[in-house]
């Protein structure tokens, strides 16, 4: 099943590329069909996944490189557990949304959708891989489509932003590879499960160095201060769908990597450095929020709010307890849907006004009541209003983190206050106020794909807000073995 989820988008990408140039607009339908099929598979995976059975499920496995790199073979091995199942679902959903909001793309259509689908395959591979080498392979595979999408279909300084994204990620993952190779040398295997069972005690280079080499890649991806500067640029210049994917699932690769690899394989080092991690997290939350308040560009504003929100993930991680880790994992999922929706809305506004300057907009609610309302919903969810998914995640994170890191948690809570400020203030400036004459011609959301994209995300946000156990059961089963490692050592 996971293999099918991995292959479907790649097949779609190939089919889209093979379209003749004069029929390339049909690529959007190919993309929609294949992303929907993949979404259906992700739903099946999520439903079939049984939270009460420990370990990985639906595992597909075969020896990939044999003889391998040295004494051990390299495997193709994919499977899901409680940690990856929700993220796979999120990926399936957001890719469909990303394809829908891309229906207005007119330029090099077939390549665009091919890269978008390839991106889904790459990210799926990261979430599903149970082998370090394979994980690294998909981590690198993600770079190309993302670079091309931002560089080729972005706006503003797209070339620069795409290259910045590429170099940051590559520099981070470079050290990750060195870390992986050292782990492989010590453990005699690259299989994540085996390394988790028997974490290396000693290595060629100090394990704390290995820990940071690996963490660097994840922290860049997450991202947190001070390695976040690629994110606002990439978001601002990326096309809407790519922003949705970037905020929605790509950032989750960082958090997922920490939970799947860094913590279970190097628990002692994580424990040693938890205070530093919490400090980075707390600072990132407040720093991100303060910078967000100063933004004049609507898209950049949402981008910086991501830096702040991803700080919560790291805060939950740094707590190293069941509650905090669950909060972090849940925050990843909810941030994916909420920020995904925010970027969809920003894209819809931009498509109509052709500006993202907040100061130029005023009273848009009169012209586009639906867009305004959904934006407000997304904003409220983002600031953690009870009844929406963001609230559950943030509350859980704070509960889990408070004992271990009171100062960082208080900083985090302060971040929520700031979030309320920037979100409400933005909505007020853009949608309320006196209607501006120059926007008199604007239309509301009026195309079926726009309705579908908005609707599916709003439903998921409310659903998780009201019935968090839909997701939390799975997440808790995934977090449980990680938390047990730290309970045992504490």
């Amino acid at each position: 099943m996971p293999t099918l989820f991995l292959l479907l988008p790649a097949v779609g990408a190939l089919l889209a590329l093979m379209l003749p140039r004069h029929r390339e607009h049909e690529a959007r339908w190919i993309a929609l069909i294949f992303s929907t099929l993949a979404f259906a598979v992700s739903i099946i995976i999520f439903i079939w996944f049984d939270p009460d059975t420990p370990g990985y499920q639906m595992v597909d496995q075969f020896a990939w490189i044999n003889p391998g790199l040295g004494g051990f073979e390299v495997q193709y091995i994919v499977g899901v557990d409680g940690l990856s199942a929700p993220l796979v679902l999120l990926l399936g959903l957001l890719t469909v949304v990303a394809v829908l909001v891309s229906f207005s793309v007119e330029h090099r259509v077939k390549e665009y959708f091919a890269y978008l689908l390839l991106l889904e395959t790459a990210v799926a591979g990261v979430f599903l891989s149970l082998d370090l080498i394979q994980f690294f392979l998909f981590w690198e595979l993600e770079l190309l489509p993302m670079y091309m999408l931002i560089s080729g279909w972005g706006s503003g300084r797209a070339r620069y932003s795409a290259m910045k994204f590429l170099i940051y990620t590559l520099a981070g993952s470079a050290f990750m590879l060195v870390g992986f190779l050292v782990l492989g040398l010590e453990g005699g295997t690259f299989e994540i499960e085996a390394l988790t069972q028997a974490p290396p005690q000693d290595a060629l280079v100090p394990l704390s160095l290995v820990f940071w080499a690996i963490m660097l890649a994840f922290l860049v991806k997450l991202p947190v201060f001070p390695v976040h500067t690629w994110l606002p640029d990439a978001h601002t210049d990326a096309p809407t769908a790519v922003s949705v994917m970037l905020a929605g699932v790509l950032l989750k690769m960082g958090g997922y990597g920490i939970l799947r690899i860094a913590l279970p394989i190097l628990p002692e080092q994580a424990h040693d450095f938890r205070v530093i991690l919490a400090a980075i997290a707390g600072f990132s939350v407040v720093y991100g929020a303060v910078i967000t308040l100063q933004q004049r560009d609507l898209k950049r504003l949402v981008a910086y709010s991501s830096v702040s929100h991803m700080g919560y993930v790291l805060l939950g991680v740094a707590a190293l307890g069941a509650v905090g880790l669950s909060g972090a994992a849940l925050q990843m999922f909810t941030h994916g849907t909420i920020t995904g929706l925010l970027f969809v809305m920003v894209g819809l506004v931009y498509e109509r006004t052709h500006t993202r300057e907040i100061s130029e907009m005023s009273g848009l609610m009169h012209r586009m009541p639906l867009i305004g309302t959904v934006m407000l919903i997304a904003g409220l969810a983002s600031l953690g209003l009870p009844g929406m998914s963001g609230f559950v995640a943030e509350l859980t994170t704070f509960l889990g983190a408070f004992d271990a890191h009171p100062a960082a948690t208080i900083a985090g809570i302060f971040g929520v206050v700031l979030a309320a400020g920037y979100i409400l203030w933005t909505v007020q400036r853009v949608f309320h106020g006196p209607p501006d004459e120059k926007w008199a011609q604007l239309t509301d959301a009026n195309r079926w794909w726009e309705y579908t994209a908005m609707g599916s995300l709003v439903v998921s946000i409310l659903l998780i807000g009201i019935f968090p156990q839909l997701i939390t059961r799975s997440i808790e089963s995934g977090i449980e073995p990680i938390a047990r490692i730290f309970e045992a050592s504490a």
Partner: protein, 492 residues
């Protein structure tokens, strides 16, 4: 050993030399333009390849000619590699060679170069190594100048002068090795080195550093790389495509043979010394090559710097010596195997595209993907492979070499790998900028670009190789590992 057995021992090389003679005679005797030169060249390569296959199947191995040459799996690996690369270049350059005055000489020289390098891969004696290496070099100087145009001749002279200096240093190094050990055969040198005479350390070190200069010239590693960018830009591109893979493979082959067999692999008192030397060369090559490539605007010059940087990657495999493991040398061989497909694919695509657009400037490649999806697609694939992006062969090759270095279990090698992976990030900048220019920029004109059938076939072959070894690397890895095991078997 009977005469036939001796001939059989170096059969592939003999076939190639004889073939070169036949090609030359055919060119001379038959009316101009009527001689089936390409067919004869390919036939020769098929015979040589078949002969190597015969050896592979019958398992002939061991030394001959008083131990001066040895036919083992290691030699066979490189013979196959060189013969395939030569065949690919022959087919891909047919169109270009049509215009050439010295057509017969061109094909004959290709065969001589391949034959000499095959012999080099079998070389097990300093004197034979020197002769084989010089034969290759001289042939290549002539090849670079084969069009007799200004740029080509200038490049040929540059190549000749730096090559002559390198050869001089190398023979000086050989003299040190012979003077210290009293043997020209690698077996004899190995016996001496394994006895571990501490007081011979200095002359031995002087010897292998100077020898490395000669080999490093072939591999184009820093600090013996000076010729590469100029020659790559100035020389005829089909010849350069041959040079870029065959010369590099030959250089690394003989370096592996000499350092692993002659200087005793991973468990002698000086192995760490030369491992560190290659580590330094690797780091310098990667940094110099990548930083140099960043500012290039000419496709050939960029590939020249890129080849220096890639040589640095391969040299990590040479530095990764450790007793009891063949990961380092097999990494070198696997990398070279994938590099032949990747770099030839890149060069062929550059030839095919630049021939039609009339420019080697990268900015003129704008939007080529729209005008020639297949050509540009192959070039993009090869550039991704050179960067090391999955699912291409280049990804596995880098992974393999880096892993081999870490597995050697030395802290300084981990540092070398860390520098190497950072260099990969640097290289992504220029490789992917080029990819971007081709894929996303708007072309100045929309007319489609076509190329010849043979060229298309070779491009298809290269692309298949790049993808196949990226997805199914196991066959090439086993071949490289078995070849590397031949190195560690004591010869006496």
């Amino acid at each position: 050993m009977s005469g036939w057995e001796l001939v059989h021992h170096i059969g592939p090389s003999i076939a190639l030399f004889v073939g070169a003679g036949i090609v030359l005679s055919a060119d001379m005797l038959l009316p101009r333009g009527r001689a089936p030169l390409v067919m004869l060249t390919l036939l020769t390569l098929v015979v040589a390849g078949g002969w190597a296959l015969w050896h592979a199947n019958t398992g002939t191995s061991g030394p001959a000619f008083e131990g001066a040459v040895v036919m083992d799996r290691f030699a066979l690996f490189f013979i196959f590699l060189l013969v395939s690369a030569t065949a690919a270049v022959t087919v891909a350059s047919t169109e270009w060679a049509q215009e050439l005055d010295l057509k017969g000489e061109y094909y004959a020289l290709l065969l001589v170069a391949a034959g000499a390098m095959s012999l080099l891969a079998q070389g097990n004696d300093l004197i034979l190594i020197f002769i084989a290496l010089e034969t290759t070099s001289i042939v290549q100087y002539v090849l670079v100048g084969v069009t007799r145009k200004d740029r080509s001749a200038e490049a040929g002279i540059k190549y000749l002068i730096s090559g002559a200096v390198a050869a001089g240093l190398m023979i000086y190094g050989f003299a040190f090795l012979f003077g210290t050990t009293g043997a020209t055969s690698l077996d004899g040198i190995a016996t001496f080195v394994q006895s571990g005479p501490e007081d011979a350390r200095l002359p031995l070190t002087l010897g292998f550093v100077l020898v490395a200069a000669g080999f490093g010239f072939k591999m184009a590693i820093v600090p013996f790389h000076g010729w590469a960018p100029d020659v790559y830009q100035g020389g005829p591109t089909p010849v350069i495509s041959f040079l870029s893979v065959a010369s590099k493979a030959g250089g690394f082959a003989i370096a592996l043979r000499l350092f692993y067999n002659g200087l005793g692999g991973g468990d002698t008192f000086i192995s760490e010394d030369w491992a560190i030397m290659f580590g330094v060369f690797a780091v310098a090559s990667m940094l110099f090559g990548n930083l140099g490539a960043l500012v290039q605007t000419d496709a050939r010059r960029l590939l020249g710097y890129s080849s220096i940087a890639q040589a640095g990657n391969v040299a990590i495999g040479l530095a990764a010596v450790a007793a009891g493991t063949t990961l380092g040398p097999s990494g070198v061989m696997f990398f070279l195997g994938t590099y032949v497909a990747t770099n030839l694919g890149a060069f062929f695509a550059v030839i095919a595209i630049s021939e039609r657009i009339g420019s080697y400037e990268i900015k003129d490649y704008a939007g080529v993907f729209k005008r020639a999806p297949i050509l540009a697609g192959v070039l993009m694939l090869c550039l991704l492979s050179l960067t090391g992006i999955p699912p291409t062969a280049g990804f596995i090759a880098k992974l393999y070499v880096f892993n081999g270095a870490v597995q050697a279990g030395e802290e300084w090698l981990v540092a070398v790998v860390a520098i190497a992976v950072v260099n990969t990030a640097i290289s992504a900048f220029y490789y992917l900028s080029w990819v971007r220019t081709m894929a996303l920029d708007d072309p100045e004109e929309e007319t489609s670009i076509r190329t010849t059938g043979p060229m298309q076939a070779m491009l298809g072959l290269a692309a298949t190789g790049v993808l196949f070894f990226g997805l199914v690397p196991a066959p090439l890895i086993s071949a490289a590992q078995r070849a590397a095991e031949a190195l560690s078997v004591p010869l006496s």
